[in-house]
Symmetry: D2
Subunit: 338 residues, 4 copies
Amino acid sequence: MVVIMKPGFTPEQLQQAIRTMEAGGVKVMVSKGSETTILGAEGNAAGINQEELSLLPGVDRVMRVTEPYKKANRKYHPDDSLVDLGGGALVGGKRLAVIAGPCSVESEAQIVGVAKAVQAAGAAALRGGAFKPRTSPYAFQGMGNDGIRLLQEARAVTGLPIVTEIMSTDNVEMFEMCVDVIQVGARNMQNFDLLKQLGKTTKPILLKRGLSSTIEEWLMSAEYIMAGGNERVILCERGIRTFETFTRNTLDLSAVLAVKQLSHLPVVVDPSHACGKAWMVEKMSLAAVAAGADGLIIEVHNDPPHALCDGAQSITPDQFAGLMEQLRALAPCVGREL
Amino acid sequence: MVVIMKPGFTPEQLQQAIRTMEAGGVKVMVSKGSETTILGAEGNAAGINQEELSLLPGVDRVMRVTEPYKKANRKYHPDDSLVDLGGGALVGGKRLAVIAGPCSVESEAQIVGVAKAVQAAGAAALRGGAFKPRTSPYAFQGMGNDGIRLLQEARAVTGLPIVTEIMSTDNVEMFEMCVDVIQVGARNMQNFDLLKQLGKTTKPILLKRGLSSTIEEWLMSAEYIMAGGNERVILCERGIRTFETFTRNTLDLSAVLAVKQLSHLPVVVDPSHACGKAWMVEKMSLAAVAAGADGLIIEVHNDPPHALCDGAQSITPDQFAGLMEQLRALAPCVGREL
Amino acid sequence: MVVIMKPGFTPEQLQQAIRTMEAGGVKVMVSKGSETTILGAEGNAAGINQEELSLLPGVDRVMRVTEPYKKANRKYHPDDSLVDLGGGALVGGKRLAVIAGPCSVESEAQIVGVAKAVQAAGAAALRGGAFKPRTSPYAFQGMGNDGIRLLQEARAVTGLPIVTEIMSTDNVEMFEMCVDVIQVGARNMQNFDLLKQLGKTTKPILLKRGLSSTIEEWLMSAEYIMAGGNERVILCERGIRTFETFTRNTLDLSAVLAVKQLSHLPVVVDPSHACGKAWMVEKMSLAAVAAGADGLIIEVHNDPPHALCDGAQSITPDQFAGLMEQLRALAPCVGREL
Amino acid sequence: MVVIMKPGFTPEQLQQAIRTMEAGGVKVMVSKGSETTILGAEGNAAGINQEELSLLPGVDRVMRVTEPYKKANRKYHPDDSLVDLGGGALVGGKRLAVIAGPCSVESEAQIVGVAKAVQAAGAAALRGGAFKPRTSPYAFQGMGNDGIRLLQEARAVTGLPIVTEIMSTDNVEMFEMCVDVIQVGARNMQNFDLLKQLGKTTKPILLKRGLSSTIEEWLMSAEYIMAGGNERVILCERGIRTFETFTRNTLDLSAVLAVKQLSHLPVVVDPSHACGKAWMVEKMSLAAVAAGADGLIIEVHNDPPHALCDGAQSITPDQFAGLMEQLRALAPCVGREL
């Protein structure tokens, strides 16, 4: 921790700042610059009341110098974490994990059909929404419990683990019983009550980055889950909100590199939601893998024009198979395999 | 609804687009520009499958021309809505409604003391957090149910209605029984499950704008609550996330004007969270009222340096009383009173 | 200056960092925290090669703790600066300075007519564009030199100082001779070559904030002009670019408070360009003054629907007169006069 | 062009809107929806006074449906444009063009040394700044004309075409004589005066995207140059400004796909300025090529810790050679070669 004093601080103010720091159990070093005096804490600064310190007269500001996340921090866990999606499909290692499926579960024929198709193309897991977060209350809200049942059927047929989004704490218990990977959507990334409850489950959590979440806030949300006891967190970059409106969001691939440096958790990329345009999915998937993503989550629909949700960003099973071929060719160039 | 055809569309593609629109129950007008052909729907376009239409070959894009919110829309409710905070304190009329209190409830002495002070200065309601959304799982999370009890005590002493944030659907029933105004925080603005449940309650909802929510998304979240049956929604502008980091967020006062034109709902402003600096609160409060806000929600703490949360943005009861004096002087200049 | 060492740095790396700092002429204080070791500079850190230091092995990052602007900094010039717009009309003191006029000069009748009208309503200066920065090369680019001549005529008739935008270094000499206040537009805020040349002129410079400029970058652009010898800089907040598209830009009124704390320079607000909608100008002008702006710059056009530029955000002379009445009433509530 | 009428418009207002459109030389189609009436222009809408139309009573808004750029538009030039950097090195075709070199030219030994190294690794051109846009007036501003001379020497030795940034219209003539590719920096993307003058030159222009420029604004700036007669424009994505501060900017790789769909111009990516961190350059370069970029521009410095500018984001010649090896392996996976 570093404390910057205001210009013109008095000796009493300096003493008060030092006392407040010492009360937190540290030894204080004083550096008097020509324009600025700074105080450094020698020892463990965790016990210092930072808010109080920052509001003392004569104190300009208090700068934190260590990351606020611990369990998610690579410093305390240098090796990459591998997370099992279910049935042994790992994400975070050399092999890329591609999760694919429709935005929404719509019928048995649809979800089982798509599941078979993406499995044939090499997908590691099946995605599909049963509970849908929609901006409009008048839009299709998902099939709910029936959607979960159809996902289970698709799993029974293909063996693929199923990934689906949770929207309510009421469903945590049911999701833990029924699904393989619980997805937290971008809009719920700071639904702390939900994160806490997921911290008590044993299922992997796919944690999407919020629309305007900094990398640090995203890792802090992972920390919420991990602090509760569940360390099986998979991060998912899905685009951030910027001034640009040509794409639905702006895919931030440098965030993949950032979180892999800051954290040991695996990270996958969702090009479908990031771009909002099916024709962009292929190239942005290749770019994501080239940037170092551990996997992808891609919207695949048997009949995009008639999809009940997000058809514009869904690719067809044939396009998905073509994409997987390209990924298979590109992966070795970046030390990966598929 | 307007459909823009791609350059080089075929006559068959045009016919298919027209048929898809007609299947939705409208008559279609075709305008052939020198570069672009557009189709307009004559009649009620609600029955058209917009996603399907937009994905037809030859169709470039589909533009919506009506707002997607209905109950929140001023077009269908030209008069300003007034919402009773409890005990007859209205927000949305000529009289400004100022809600004040600490970020967190910390003790009986604290909350009752602050309540008395803000009441004496003219506040219409008491705010105070019992369940706190904190970025870090290791930060103070609020007193929970005990906090609610202390707020009730402060209400018993002062008669002020109490406003507090809900973080979990588990608490909806309890909040409906115990508090006067239920606040939805910025991070939960698109927690649709929570919004739906609040739509079934009878208490006014203070709906904060999300950190990166457009005005339309904010009104759509209000629509979620209203569509459920609860039309007592108060909007709250609290700053949006931008590239600027000097302030915690960027207070968007033009949004006050925008929502008051687009919607009949009352809107209040939270300068404390927007700026994150106590010394900015006074002037930004005056600016908010000058811009046309129906009220304010302000963090007031008896001892900011020792606040358990957000001390840096809290003003003292004395500063609050001074601010109220200034608001009282300025209000008549913009046709208001306090 | 504060240097944060990486975890696991070696004693040699620490010594190298210390030597590099000492080579810059400072004494170094070392604070060993439980997780982090930091180095503080005692003395004047200006001589340290910060880039080199930050790239040394073992060094995590170097944090600057003093502002990089000097002449614009309030620390070295505690009193508010007053700038004379010409003819004794000061900006930065108790009296508000309102600059008004059309987006573009279009004809003698238009500019003289508007000049008389805004003067009658109490404007301190006349604005009008002769050289226009337009996104499209096919849009009206302004009357150029003829526009400057018409502005001079309007000045001759009314005595109002004239404010107009410069777009090219080729025009610096001519502007210095012909106009009273030289405006630097948002898109040229970091046209450093232009800033340097304006630093050698003797005319006041109205420096608009760039669309995505931080407050520090804005002050650094002011510093460019001041470092050249021209300290007569007026800052102008005109909205920043954010994700919100309802308004043309997002007016950041908290920036007014920020720059007035960080700098001694006067600051005016342009609600016309910020909002892009004429119906928002009145209320946002009142809000700007309530927030502490030293003045306003407002687009006024005799016939907005037929304006050659920006008609949608221009108010009429009658509306301007009404706004001035309201400002006259509100100003005393915030310690100002008009 | 589409005109949306306000609810409750009168028949006279409708007639006035139609007349205004017809005065522009088009036939008008009227579509009466249940909630909204829209007008479509049949014929060439270019003659309509859109501003006037949008401000008519009864008119809600006017929506443009065609892109405002013509020469840069792929619709009128379906084939990819190839631009010769000088000496036959093309950008925009199958072969990737990698431009590399230091942020600033610092000495003959430095620039010639780096030029030889990047040529040996396969670079198509040499970059190096002689005139530097620096946020601070007190920072190193480049060697100026001497820097240009040293770049010419490096070209004489290696044969590599030279790419360098122009900051002032005063230098247009000299740049046209001395350099091969003229770079317009992000901060000057809307320095329209400069763009116009570059439109009269015969040298290729590398046009960087502004920090907060939309894709449309970027293409409009290209249009400025092309409208002047110089169609040899190379677009350069270099990161946009967002709320995220971990990286210097946020590299928007989806913009590469967007401009390649909207325009025929070649596009290269600058990962160095986008990320601001040398350790990110390799992976983001691979990602850019995977996304479809036609080339890269990369900062390479012989001794990054002692660079006079941007050392933190510069890679060494050895790292550059390693990156080129990786690009050579990856290129064929996306139909390219190096």
